[in-house]
């Protein structure tokens, strides 16, 4: 009977209940939409970093990372490559040389990171080849091709087939320089990345450094994120003398951004739930005060306090149970829709690029998060009903039955 009374009480003031249900639904929808956008942004940023530069796992000589001296090569790179090639969780891997140097044209010179890459195997790890917007990916230039970014090309005032000079130190600390001709111009979603990265064929750098076959870095892309840590540990077990790091160790700021995003989402959801709680408290308090006489009668004729309390709580839960799924459904469809079609944020394109993501953001959300939000709404509803229910209990039945 309590369930019946609570259920019918929900529909007693349809407008008021409708407003509460709508605000619950809107609150959840807004929360989910923001979560979906934040998660999507972050996922894209991580994905973009992994596919543009980091890969899932990188291997280095331990001292290379602290010193960045080109002399710290990976010595047994052939063995490692064979081991990596055998694993079925590996989607692709490639060898690189990484050198800090200068790029110069007649217009000026800039400090850059020079990556000597294996153009074909690099395609299995990063998407540099898909970012070429002018010229070709290491094609049409027979000798010393180089790929630079559009931003750098503008600064250097160069175009396809222009000549630029790369200067860096060799193993002995002597300065070496090579003339390279621009084969391709790329553009990624990250302006910061584009400003400092140039790509040359690994063999051309090795020749300048006087040692074919020498590499600084092995980058590995796996078939899925879940395989990263197990494979990293396997590699560490096999090659304890090398530094083997996963993407979040290479670029901890990505991991921090993840945590930061998580905290921000939590705060945001907290604010929504707080607003929701006050809405529910207000409505239920009005309902209790409006029904003073009725509640007084119920207590007079022998309804015990627990039942009165339960009746108010159940009524609130009903409101949440009707508004909640509506909000979850709206949120789900919104995230699905923009997860497929994306949200065009080109109006803040510059900011998006410096953040390391494209102008189209695809919303994304784990299924478990919907359940979490749903449970949070129910808990908020229950907590919000406590004060109005307590007010109902505090009514003096003798006075309440005569309330006007």
């Amino acid at each position: 009977m309590i369930l019946k009374i609570s259920w019918r009480n929900v529909w007693r003031n349809k407008l008021r209940s409708g407003v509460v249900m709508t605000s619950i639904a809107l609150g959840i929808w807004a929360g989910l939409a923001v979560m979906g956008l934040s998660v999507g942004l972050n996922d894209q940023r991580i994905d973009s970093s992994i596919k543009n530069t980091l890969s899932h796992i990188q291997i280095h000589h331990p001292e290379f990372l602290s010193d960045n001296n080109v002399a710290f090569y990976i010595e047994n790179s052939k063995d490692i490559s064979e081991f990596i090639a055998q694993s079925n969780t590996v989607a692709g891997f490639t060898n690189r040389m990484k050198i800090n140097g200068m790029v110069a044209s007649s217009a000026g010179g800039y400090g850059v990171n020079i990556s000597g890459i294996q153009p074909e195997s690099e395609k299995t790890v990063t998407e540099l080849y898909t970012k070429i917007i002018d010229g070709k990916y290491f094609q049409d230039i027979k000798r010393n091709p180089v790929v630079i970014s559009q931003r750098l090309a503008k600064k250097l005032k160069v175009k396809i087939r222009s000549k630029i000079v790369l200067t860096f130190q060799n193993d002995n600390g002597d300065i070496v320089a090579g003339a390279f001709r621009i084969a391709g111009i790329y553009k990624t979603v990250s302006s910061r990345y584009d400003d400092v990265n140039v790509f040359v064929d690994i063999e051309d750098v090795q020749k300048l450094l006087g040692g074919l076959g020498k590499i600084h870095e092995i980058a590995i892309l796996l078939t899925n994120m879940d395989a990263v840590n197990p494979f990293k540990e396997e590699l560490r077990g096999n090659y304890p003398d090398l530094t083997i790091r996963s993407w979040d160790e290479i670029s901890p700021e990505l991991g921090y951004a993840n945590e930061l995003m998580g905290t921000a989402i939590l705060i945001f959801i907290g604010i929504i739930m707080l607003a929701l709680a006050f809405g529910i408290i207000n409505t239920m308090l009005m309902a209790v005060l409006e029904r003073k006489r009725e509640l007084g009668m119920l207590m007079s004729v022998g309804m015990n306090r627990l039942k009165v309390f339960t009746m108010i709580v159940v009524e609130t839960i009903f409101l949440a149970l009707m508004g909640g799924p509506l909000g979850l459904a709206f949120g789900y469809f919104t995230i699905q829709y923009f997860g497929t079609n994306g949200i065009d944020l080109s109006i803040v394109g510059e900011g998006m690029e410096s953040f390391g993501v494209g102008m189209i953001v695809y919303t994304s959300m784990e299924a478990a998060k919907y359940a979490e939000v749903g449970i949070m709404v129910i808990i908020t509803a229950i907590l919000s009903s406590i004060y109005p229910a307590y007010k109902a209990l505090k009514l003096n039945p003798a006075e309440a039955v005569r309330a006007i």
């Binding site: 009977m1 006489r293 004729v301 022998g302 003798a398 005569r402």
Partner: protein
């Protein structure tokens, strides 16, 4: 046989800083099957007396015994159960649950008593027929007149098979014809089923039908007379 026995009841309120003696040593016995009206001017203590006898308020001193139970000794939860099983209430403003039908309004008291469905169904029907609403059982309060609603309230008061019914100004919101009709129903229930009724009232129609009239003034019984009806 005495069903209600009050002994030297006092009730003192503090209104701001002023002490108000709402009841001032009320001693009264009400026997089974009585049809009693407690009358008196506003502020005489009628409602306070009914509240204390109904276990809705505590006296400042004195005792209230219902049957063998001194209800002034009962704890809050015990008192709620006691009210549920022993006292029926009829209020001036009917106080039905608007979202329930007439049948459900009567039935929910028995649900709280954990009575079986079979027992509930037969008792609800019997009561609603007795108050002349056998054909209105599935109507909600808003679909009924004031008189009909008060008849449902009477049926509800009787649903738990209480020892007595306290009716606080039951006819105050009704027109004369409806009030007389309601009083007839209650008088019949009193006569035929032996249900004890105690009214607090100003209404002369109620006073004319009561077999005992207790008059309160300034919290004291100033007269207690029986009349033939």
């Amino acid at each position: 046989m005495s069903i209600i026995k009050t002994q030297d009841l006092t009730k003192i309120y503090v209104d701001h800083t002023v002490e108000v003696h709402a009841l001032n040593g009320v001693t009264l016995d009400v026997a089974e099957r009585e049809f009693t009206a407690v009358v008196g001017p506003s502020g005489s203590g009628k409602t306070t007396f009914l509240n204390i006898v109904g276990g809705l308020d505590n006296p400042s001193s004195g005792t209230v015994s219902i049957g063998d139970t001194d209800i002034t000794d009962l704890k809050d939860n015990e008192l709620i159960d006691f009210r549920l099983n022993n006292i029926g209430f009829v209020f001036q403003a009917y106080n039905l649950i608007p979202v329930l039908t007439a049948k459900e309004n009567v039935e929910f008291i028995m649900l709280m008593q954990k009575k079986s469905k079979k027992e509930r169904d037969s008792r609800v029907e019997e009561l609603l027929v007795a108050v002349g609403l056998g054909d209105q059982m599935n109507k909600k309060p808003r679909e009924m007149s004031g008189g009909q609603q008060q008849r449902v309230a009477v049926a509800r008061a009787l649903a738990s098979k209480p020892k007595f019914v306290l009716a606080d100004e039951p006819t105050a919101n009704l027109d004369s014809k409806t009030a007389i009709n309601l009083l007839e129903i209650m008088a019949n229930l009193n006569k035929e089923e032996g249900i004890t009724f105690i009214f607090s009232t100003h209404d002369q129609k109620v006073i004319d039908r009561a077999r005992r009239i207790v008059t309160l003034e300034d919290g004291k019984i100033v007269s207690d007379v029986e009349q033939n009806v």
